[in-house]
């Protein structure tokens, strides 16, 4: 019912969506995070995601479990995050949830991606033509 993964391979989005199909679900909601070509006004060339794997997997599972506790009607939850080198347009993260009705699917999906960004031990380094920056590292 909860599927979590952290991978250095391209994320198979269609497989992720299929993984939350359920007979009791009238709604499947997804968030797909992709690599944007600009950040704070600078042209991004590529990204590198670094993870503290064991803690990231543990925290991802906790976030999914918190969502299930808050929306007990959740049928299935899949969260897959990419690590390693990514280029413009690549899929960095997929969150997919299924619920009987649509309202809870939107809310649960947003909760999971918002909380993931706050607690999951993954770090993004942006590379530009003329340098690189660890995102959010400094005030």
């Amino acid at each position: 019912m909860i599927h979590i993964d952290l991978t250095d391979q391209p994320i198979a989005v269609a497989d992720a969506l299929r993984s939350v199909e359920a007979d009791g679900a009238g709604a499947i909601n997804t968030f797909i995070g992709t690599v944007r070509n600009r950040s704070t006004g600078r042209a991004v060339v590529r990204l590198e995601y670094e993870a503290y794997d064991s803690m990231a997997l543990h925290q991802l599972r906790k976030v999914a479990e918190q969502a299930v506790a808050q929306w007990p009607m959740l049928q299935k939850v899949t969260v897959i995050h990419r690590k390693g080198t990514l280029h413009i347009g690549d899929v960095a993260v997929v969150v997919a949830v299924s619920t009987p009705h649509r309202a809870e699917s939107f809310a649960a999906c947003q909760y999971i991606i918002d909380t993931l960004k706050q607690v999951v031990t993954i770090w993004k380094k942006e590379f530009y033509e003329d340098g690189d920056v660890w995102v959010a590292a400094h005030p």
Binding site: G33, A51, Y52, H58, H81, T121, W123, V135
Partner: protein
Amino acid sequence: MRLNIALFGVAREIVGQPSLEIETTAGQSARGLLAELHTRYPALAALSSLAVAVNNEYAADDTPLHERDEIALIPPVSGG
């Protein structure tokens, strides 16, 4: 006691290696460890935030550390 601390992201770059061994007083707290590391690596104090993780959980300031714990420094995360 001797602690082995895993480092990631900007913290790994500041220290210049993926892990760090430090000798500290028995029962040292997460807060105390950070204070020691700030003295040794002042650039760590300039980060937006720096947390200590113990056995894959965020540690409270007063969490006591033990030699066998899996300890890591957690600079501001930026996944998603």
